[in-house]
């Protein structure tokens, strides 16, 4: 493993992933190197099948690489046992999914509490719901919430653990334009105000304008990385 700088938060070295989908072998990610610094807002851009979700899953420790290593604060995830990797996800990662993945049988508040119970020092559940603007909808079940509201619950659920890393997989993919911008704004806020590192995956190129760095992927490999010294305010994004 290459020596990392102090601010290196995440480092991937020659990470590759091959899936078997049905009877087909898919090279989802070719050998890839990447580093992410603490406090960065990184957007991974690419069309369907480019390997961006795979990359995100590997960073989040919900999937393991076929080859290579993924390090979080110098700790190699691929060397961790099941308990350690669970602890990593529990303490360090907050996830936001395209399809929200709320537990349909729990209310908004209970969905957030469901995750808060996992950590020793969670944020106050109602404060977090208030932060995402859903305090007044706290006792509603997912089926009673709009898509944007469900995604805000998902963000609250991710933030309640106070994770240093927030991973979002197509967070606006299932939302309308205005709601999508609100969600992106929320993510930007937690990045700036709480210093949480955010990695978001999207196929919407406009979202890249709000990031510190944009990583372009195609056919399972990184094609380019753009640094953005002047990220656009999410409210000004257009697509």
């Amino acid at each position: 493993m290459q020596p990392t700088s102090d601010s290196t938060f995440i480092q991937l070295e020659q990470v590759a992933k091959t899936y078997m989908i049905g009877e087909v072998s898919v090279h989802a990610l070719k050998p890839t190197d990447l580093t992410v610094d603490a406090g960065e807002f990184v957007v991974m851009l690419g069309p369907s099948g480019s390997g961006k979700t795979t990359l995100l899953n590997l960073i989040g420790g919900i999937d393991s690489p076929s080859t290579g290593s993924v390090c979080f604060r110098s700790a190699d995830l691929s060397q961790m046992n099941e308990d350690q990797i669970t602890e990593y996800r529990r303490a360090s990662v907050g996830f936001i999914f395209q399809f929200f993945n709320l537990i349909p049988t729990l209310t908004a508040r209970e969905n957030v509490e469901f995750v808060a119970e996992l950590v020793d020092d969670p944020a106050d559940v109602m404060s977090v719901l208030n932060e995402v603007g859903l305090a007044d909808r706290a006792d509603h079940f997912p089926s009673e919430l709009s898509g944007g509201e469900q995604q805000r619950v998902a963000i609250a659920r991710a933030l309640v653990k106070n994770p240093p890393l927030l991973l979002a997989d197509e967070p606006t993919g299932n939302l309308d334009y205005e709601t999508g911008k609100h969600i992106l704004n929320l993510m930007r806020q937690v990045n700036r105000t709480r210093g949480i590192t955010v990695i978001a995956v999207t196929h919407n190129s406009a979202v890249g304008d709000m990031s510190d760095r944009t990583i372009h992927l195609r056919s399972g490999e990184i094609t380019s990385i753009e640094t953005n010294p002047h990220p656009t305010d999410p409210e000004d994004l257009k697509w």
Partner: protein
């Protein structure tokens, strides 16, 4: 109390998937209800017998003897460890019943001159004790009274010598010795209508039989902890000068032993069937939980991705399974107890049990709860483990479409390729999700299996009775004579109006001895060209009466360790000798010869008691199927040749006549048969059939309960899997609806798909069910009833039709739900 959110999710899963939860709870509940009901019933029956034996002070052993003075009782009382001794007179005789216009076999047992006997005491059901002195009164055993319509105040007519003596029935009683009314262990067929036990004051019995203060049976109870074998030995030594038989311990007493045999059969059924039921329920729970977990893949993926460990996920789903197990078993335990109460009560009405004891059996209930919890947890373990082992990314990812294939049938029938998608899609769907298809097919197959097993038990019982009465006993009435006589009456009976055929029968009591094993029974001698008493092989084919040697059933051969071609020793049963000896000399001369009695037969023993210890060897030449009891058959000519001299039989001796009668003439001919000189009893075959039906009604009732449960389980299993099958594909079907596929087309497709699984399940379930039914039936065989496994064609039709209708009905709620879908919402949602 703060409830953890993961546990809250568990409770909410229950609330949001009520059908699934309820389905599993019902599965567990039915299994435990059946387990508890059958096992508690079995235990309650055993306890009720014990309670009756205890309350009525059943003798620990009895000794039959020729005759002994009353003071022998005092000598036995002095044996250390003996608690109580009772001496009594017991005599078998013929009884005339004017009430029921039937002559039957009776047994008179003496009771003390005052009060009830201290040992083998009686439970008075109705009426009062017999009066003292010259009052000609007696007590009648309950089953006989019930079957023949006796009540206190009626009269009954025991025949002593040639005289009918009129006795008034003062009361109806139950006896611990005759809860199951059998004359002897060797003839275990219950004969509540044909065998009447009467209890008479000792002074009256002495007057009737001339026993003059002596006794011919001694009943003994022993103190707790005393050495029974030693006491029996000492009692036998004291009684041996009085022609005593070996002491008969309680376990060998006829009524006790036959009850225990019946209980053993019940226990087999009460254990095996619920186990099969629970195994099938477990398989179904496994399928249902597996599918529930599959539908929660995304949730599992999320839980794992936010930091819930494998153990937490495993615990979560195991808890769901345990919750269903706990709730199902709690309800099942209550229902099982209630049902046990009903079954035991019903049994008590069939068998004369005065005291029933149905109490909650905590051990059984706890075992039931344990078994159900274990069943549910084990059934949930595999899917829960697989859920916990899913990697979060794998769980969260939308599953790749399974590989679509055209079924081979489309290649075999090219026209099918051009058929409407309403036909082609269901076929492809079945292949597309093989696990789902397999689990549905297995659900249907197991439901069919369960129905086949319970129906098979009932069919086998009915087939056995039908075979016995329709194929073997071809006569309508049989008259048995007091003494073997020459066959002069045959020709006369043939001329009676309505009589179609008449055949002679000679029955000789024998003791079979082979390889140190003994069995007391009788040999029936019949004509070689008999048409009224058919012999059959196990496969049902007709067998001729052997010209030489004996024919007998497989069970008897097994009990004696006999093989075809082997010789068996025939000797005279001890009982004949002792009974003959017990008759006072003045009365022993009947028609100029001494007599011996065996069951309803009275045999002439011209040479006296000491000269009849003969031994004959006969070869077993033919093996027959004997559905009920154990019968030995040989040619009547051969039998006369073998035993004619020893029993001093008249030329062409017969002891009974079988008569085939035209419809409508049975009663008239039976009445005339009674009036034949020397007639001891007349058996009406329909009456006999009724008694056997009665004897089997308990197991029939129990089998009916099992059959009901099998149908219920079949419905639950199929309902759940069909409902899930539809609901799992809500989004897919909503998409089809959105594309313009009509409701009729969708319901047609689903119906075709479900009927394909029904067909496959039927093809698997019928042979498996038949095989298991065969296994169960062979376990259920007793020494009295020998079942051949049978499943009637109508049972196949009923099973297939029931399951077919269940499949059709089960899909209705799911289809109705699909019809009311919000298409916009349903097509957008990834999963429910």
């Amino acid at each position: 109390m703060v409830i953890r959110k993961l546990d809250l999710k568990l409770l909410r899963d229950v609330r949001f998937s009520p059908w699934l939860f309820l389905g599993i709870v019902l599965l567990v509940m039915s299994g435990i209800t059946l387990f508890d009901a059958s096992y508690i019933s079995y235990n309650s029956l055993a306890a009720s017998y014990q309670l009756t034996y205890q309350k009525l002070n059943m003798a620990d052993f009895t000794v039959d003897l020729q005759s002994a003075p009353q003071d022998v009782v005092k000598r036995i009382q002095r044996i250390p460890g003996v608690k109580q001794v009772d001496g009594r007179v017991t005599e078998d005789l013929t009884v005339e019943q004017r009430l029921a216009t039937k002559r039957v076999i009776g047994r008179i047992i003496s009771i003390p001159d005052a009060g009830l006997p201290s040992i083998n005491t009686l439970h008075i059901v109705n009426g009062t004790l017999p009066g003292r002195g010259n009052k000609r009164e007696l007590l009648l055993e309950n089953s006989f009274a019930k079957f023949n319509g006796y009540k206190p105040g009626d009269f009954i007519y025991p025949i002593v010598g040639d005289d009918e003596v009129r006795y008034r029935v003062s009361g109806i009683v139950m006896s611990p010795e005759y809860m199951w009314v059998v004359a002897s262990t060797d003839d275990p067929m219950p004969q509540p209508k044909q065998f009447g036990v009467m209890f008479m004051r000792k002074e009256m019995a002495d007057r009737l039989f001339g026993t003059d203060g002596s006794v011919n049976q001694v009943a003994v109870t022993i103190m707790p902890g005393a050495n029974r074998s030693r006491i029996m030995r000492q009692a036998a030594d004291i009684l041996s000068p009085y022609g005593a038989d070996d002491p008969i311990p309680m376990q060998k007493q006829a009524g006790y032993e036959v009850l225990q045999r019946d209980l053993r059969g019940f226990r087999t059924l009460a254990t095996l069937f619920p186990m099969l039921f629970l195994a099938i329920a477990a398989l179904s729970i496994y399928n249902l939980l597996g599918r529930m977990i599959y539908s929660q893949r995304a949730q599992i993926g999320f839980m794992r991705s936010v930091g819930y460990g494998r153990r937490a996920v495993l615990r979560h789903y195991i808890l769901f399974a345990a919750l269903t197990g706990l709730l199902g078993s709690a309800i099942g335990t209550v229902l099982g107890y209630y049902l046990a109460f009903e079954i035991t009560g019903f049994y008590a009405t069939i068998v004369s049990i005065p005291f029933t004891e149905v109490t909650p059996r905590w051990g059984i209930m706890a075992a039931g709860i344990g078994i159900s919890l274990l069943t549910a947890v084990l059934a949930g373990l595999v899917p829960s483990l697989s859920a916990s082992r899913m990697t979060p990314a794998e769980a969260i990812r939308t599953e790749a479409p399974s590989v679509g294939r055209a079924p081979a049938i489309e290649n075999l029938i090219p026209r099918l390729k051009k058929a409407s998608f309403v036909w082609r899609l269901p076929m492809r769907n079945l292949l597309r999700a093989p696990k789902r298809t397999f689990s549905t097919i297995m659900g249907i197959a197991s439901a069919i299996t369960l129905i086949m097993v319970s129906a098979g038990l009932m069919d086998s019982g009915k087939a056995m009775i039908n075979f016995y009465f329709d194929r073997m006993l071809r006569y309508d009435a049989m008259v048995t004579f007091i003494h073997p006589q020459s066959q002069g009456d045959l020709g006369r009976i043939r001329t009676w109006k309505g009589v179609q055929r008449v055949e002679p029968l000679l029955q000789v009591p024998v003791k079979l001895v082979h390889n140190g094993r003994e069995m007391v029974t009788s040999i029936s001698g019949i004509e070689s060209n008999t048409q009224l008493l058919a012999l059959s092989a196990y496969d049902g084919t007709r067998i001729s009466v052997p010209r030489t040697g004996i024919a007998t059933g497989g069970d008897l051969m097994k009990r004696l360790g006999l093989c075809l071609g082997q010789k068996v020793i025939l000797t005279v049963p001890h009982r004949i000798i002792s009974d003959a000896a017990s008759i006072p000399v003045s009365d022993a001369e009947v028609n100029g010869s001494r007599i011996g009695k065996y069951r309803d037969q009275v045999f002439s023993l011209s040479r006296g008691i000491q000269d009849i210890t003969f031994k004959k060897q006969v070869v077993v030449t033919t093996q027959t199927y004997e559905p009920i009891g154990n019968r030995l058959v040989m040619s009547i000519h051969e039998l006369r040749r073998l035993f004619g001299q020893e029993f001093d039989l008249p030329p062409n001796a017969i002891s009974a006549i079988m008569v085939k009668v035209a419809p409508g003439y049975v009663k008239e001919v039976s009445r005339d048969l009674y009036n034949l000189t020397g007639a001891a009893s007349v058996v009406d075959v329909q009456d006999m059939r009724q008694q056997i039906d009665q004897a089997m009604s308990v197991s029939n009732a129990f089998e009916s309960v099992m059959f009901g449960f099998a149908i219920a389980l079949a419905f639950i299993v199929i309902f759940n899997s069909t409902m899930l099958n539809i609901l799992e594909r809500t989004r897919e079907i909503a998409s089809l609806r959105a594309l313009g596929v009509t409701r009729l087309q969708i319901s047609s497709m689903l119906t075709i798909e479900n009927l394909c699984t029904w067909l496959a399940g039927t093809v698997i379930g019928l042979p498996v069910g038949r095989l298991l039914a065969h296994g169960f039936v062979s376990q259920y065989n007793s020494e009295t009833f020998h079942f051949r496994s049978a499943v009637f064609p109508r049972t196949y039709v009923m099973t297939v039709t029931t399951i077919f209708l269940t499949v059709l009905v089960s899909q209705i709620p799911g289809i109705l739900r699909l019809f009311n879908l919000n298409l916009a919402k349903a097509t957008k949602e990834l999963s429910e």
